[in-house]
């Protein structure tokens, strides 16, 4: 437990492996990357998330040397690599389209890069066999790329890019075509490889779960800019914008006008912390494993939020003591009491009627601003009787999505707003009392949401 958390980005003395300095990339008059600056550190597992066309591949291609920035520069270990051709960079890329050589066998594809290095034949064979074993392709080594399935091809591409054990490995949606089990296994393989070789990974993925599982940091991109870079738990719990909150996971966005609440001195510090307080175990324990293995919080996030939708993580994972969080969210009765309502933060008046919503963790300087309260569905409790809580909303159940161990209730408030609440199905029958068209109360703590400024 004494081990330090892997967070070189917090250490001002740490030198970044990669540094984008005001990089802009234009295709004609289209700006694909817009004045982007970012540091990526050695041994990081850096994930790029973002909607299609936001410039993820373009960033990778600039790192690989296939595109040159229109302006700005990219430093690799402190050196400007603008003029270095791809074959002279200690960088390997797994292409989104795989780019396997169709005229040579799987084995030869994987050996291709090693042969160029002039490695001894025996060593090449050993390395290729190792890669084949890693990607479970032993049986296909003699086949040509067109004689194997899409998922197998993806693994060949992965094996080929891993074979040279580069300093920096760029993976453009490396696991998209794999089935869930193989994908999860490969994710852990990647993390293992990362650990044993110290390779720095930059990975593009559309799969949030993947980003959450493997990444040391996640960058959310939009229109050629990085909107937020943070560890997976911070991205999830404390998105810095409505865009990020909306992009990562499910969220209720409630618009309103903020008004500062009365503060006593003691709560000032608390108010300055914008992070939505998780209902249990609020301080992230440093994981015993070094990053980028998911820390406890990441695992918790995964298990509680993503697993119901996306399935279990691979069995490699050590079991995590079930955080009592689910209890609070699940049980109807003990809804959070307003008596423990902290001071400070904001009141959000919304749709003019009813009580304002209280967000005690919000930044009071937003006083008077148009804001959005971002509220994760699993932070809401649902009950048939009016609970005694900081924030209570009344509405009617419109729809229930049953997802196995979790159910999402779509509740329409009297004002017409739809709010999603997610409840774990710990007891089989207990939930049956809430059904379609029922009048229900939704409640959440004063610290459950994140208050964000409305985007223009």
């Amino acid at each position: 437990m004494a081990q330090t958390v892997f967070a070189p980005w917090n250490d001002p003395k740490e030198k970044p492996l990669i540094e984008f300095v005001n990089v802009t990339k234009r295709f004609g008059d289209f700006t694909a990357i817009d004045n982007l600056s970012q540091k990526i550190y050695a041994k990081e597992f850096f994930a790029l998330l973002g909607p299609s066309g936001c410039g993820k591949t373009t960033m990778m291609r600039m790192l690989g040397g296939f595109e040159t920035p229109t302006s700005g520069k990219i430093l690799l270990a402190g050196q400007d690599i603008g003029a270095v051709p791809p074959n002279k960079r200690a960088v390997n890329m797994m292409f989104q389209s795989y780019a396997l050589f169709p005229h040579i066998s799987v084995w030869e594809n994987i050996a291709f890069g090693l042969k160029r290095e002039g490695m001894a034949k025996v060593k090449i064979a050993a390395r290729v066999d190792e890669m084949l074993r890693l990607t479970r392709l032993e049986k296909f080594s003699g086949r040509k790329p067109h004689q194997i399935s899409g998922g197998q091809r993806q693994r060949v591409a992965l094996a080929r890019s891993l074979a040279k054990a580069p300093k920096l490995l760029l993976l453009d949606e490396p696991l998209g075509a794999l089935d869930k089990k193989l994908r999860q296994e490969t994710q852990f393989e990647l993390m293992d490889i990362q650990e044993s070789t110290g390779t720095t990974f930059v990975i593009v993925t559309h799969d949030q779960e993947e980003a959450m599982t493997v990444a040391s940091r996640v960058a959310v991109m939009d229109h050629g800019k990085i909107v937020q870079v943070a560890t997976p738990d911070v991205i999830y719990e404390a998105p810095n914008s409505v865009y990020v909150a909306d992009f990562i996971g499910d969220v209720n966005l409630i618009e309103g006008t903020a008004k500062a609440r009365k503060t006593s001195n003691t709560t000032k510090q608390l108010a300055a912390q914008p992070i939505a307080e998780p209902e249990v175990s609020p301080k992230p324990e440093p994981s015993s494993d070094r990053k980028p293995q998911p820390n406890e919080r990441g695992e918790w996030l995964h298990d509680k939020l993503l697993e119901p939708v996306l399935g279990k993580r691979a069995a490699v994972q050590k079991t995590v003591a079930t955080a009592p969080i689910s209890e609070t969210a699940t049980s109807v009765a003990p809804a959070p009491k307003p008596s423990d309502l902290p001071d400070g933060g904001l009141e959000i008046a919304w749709l003019d009627n009813g009580k304002p919503l209280i967000a005690s963790n919000a930044d009071p300087s937003l006083d008077g601003a148009k804001v959005v309260l971002a509220l994760r569905p699993e932070k809401l409790s649902i009950s048939t009787e009016e609970p005694d809580a900081a924030n209570v909303l009344r509405g009617k159940v419109i729809d229930i999505a049953y997802l196995g161990n979790i159910s999402t209730y779509y509740v329409q408030l009297e004002t017409g707003t739809m709010v999603k609440a997610q409840i774990a199905n710990t007891r089989r029958v207990s939930r049956r009392d809430i059904t379609w068209e029922d009048q229900v109360w939704l409640s959440f703590r004063a610290t459950a949401g994140v208050v964000l400024e409305q985007e223009a």
Binding site: G64, G65, F66, P85, P86, N87, V91, N92, M93, F95, S97, A99, L100, F101, P102, H103, I104, F112, G113, R116, E117, K144, H146, R160, S161, K164
Partner: protein
């Protein structure tokens, strides 16, 4: 039933347009020359029945083939045809590959135009185009005039009526057959393959040799066969552009047929030419088949 008919069509086509003519030519090659019309003997008299048929077969022999084997001229003509066809195929490849490569790498909006330019010469008669080369290559021709006016040469070059002119003619004529299959192989190639090669440590040149060229190999083979096969039996180009010492089997065939009116010997020459061509034709077929399998 419908399937059987569908399969039968190409076979009937082959039978009518290839096998039957071949058998006729083969039969003539086994006959004797005669001053008659048609100029060979025996003719099959169906009216004489079984005995006529027996008589007919008794008259056929391998005499003409033995003659071809004894006269060194024919042997030399075959050999020199092979040599000329081979050299011109290599030359066509050397000229055609860069053209095809350039076309495949050109901006997509330009490719149809470039393709058009390659096919354009087919719109004029082949004979006229070969004649035009006479005007270019002759001693007072355009090429010599140009070179002399530029001061590069002082005396006109003798190109016309030499093997060089034949090579030029063949390369020019068959260039599209080389360019098109190579282009189609190169055009299909994904640019990201070259990027991947470079990413894995290849220089541009290595990437060409290890990726681009092998991937266009099927196109190169196809192009080479499409040039080599007709070039071997080429008659018009050597007779219009070649000299008296240009020995090609197509010319020999023509002379036997039309000057000597020795149909049986001419037929024997043709049959042997065909046998020689079977080898590259079969290789060509195998290549096409392999390519098709690879594309599936």
């Amino acid at each position: 039933m419908r399937r059987a008919v569908l399969i039968a069509v190409p076979y009937l086509w082959l039978l009518a347009l290839f096998l039957v003519p071949f058998l006729i030519v083969f039969k003539i090659s086994l006959s004797d020359a005669a001053i008659a019309r048609p100029p060979y003997f025996p003719q099959l008299e169906v009216s004489e029945g079984w005995s006529g048929l027996k008589e007919f077969f008794a008259e056929l022999d391998w005499e003409n083939y033995i003659f071809l084997g004894e006269d060194v001229l024919y042997y030399q003509a075959y050999l020199s045809s092979l040599k000329i066809a081979l050299i011109s195929t290599v030359l066509t490849l050397l000229v055609g590959y860069p053209i095809a490569y350039g076309m495949a790498r050109a901006a997509p909006e330009w490719r149809p135009t470039l393709l058009m330019l390659i096919i354009l010469p087919f719109w004029t008669s082949f004979l006229i185009r070969v004649y035009a080369w006479k005007g270019i290559l002759s001693t007072e021709g355009l090429l010599n005039q140009l070179l002399m006016s530029l001061g590069i040469i002082s005396d006109p070059l003798t190109i016309l009526n030499t093997n060089t002119a034949v090579y030029i003619g063949i390369v020019y004529t068959y260039l599209p057959f080389m360019v098109l299959p190579i282009y189609s192989a190169l055009e299909k190639m994904d640019d990201s393959l070259l990027e991947a090669a470079e990413d894995l440590g290849c220089s541009r040149f290595q990437a060409f040799w290890l990726v681009t060229f092998p991937m266009s190999r099927a196109g190169v083979f196809a192009g080479c066969f499409l040039v080599f096969i007709p070039a071997l039996g080429e008659f018009v180009i050597p007779s219009l552009l070649g000299g008296s010492d240009t020995l090609m089997i197509g010319k020999v065939l023509y002379e036997e047929f039309f000057s000597n009116r020795d149909w049986p010997v001419a037929s024997a020459v043709a049959v042997i030419l065909l046998l020689i061509l079977i080898v590259p034709i079969v290789l060509f077929q195998l290549n096409q088949q392999k390519q098709q399998e690879a594309e599936q």
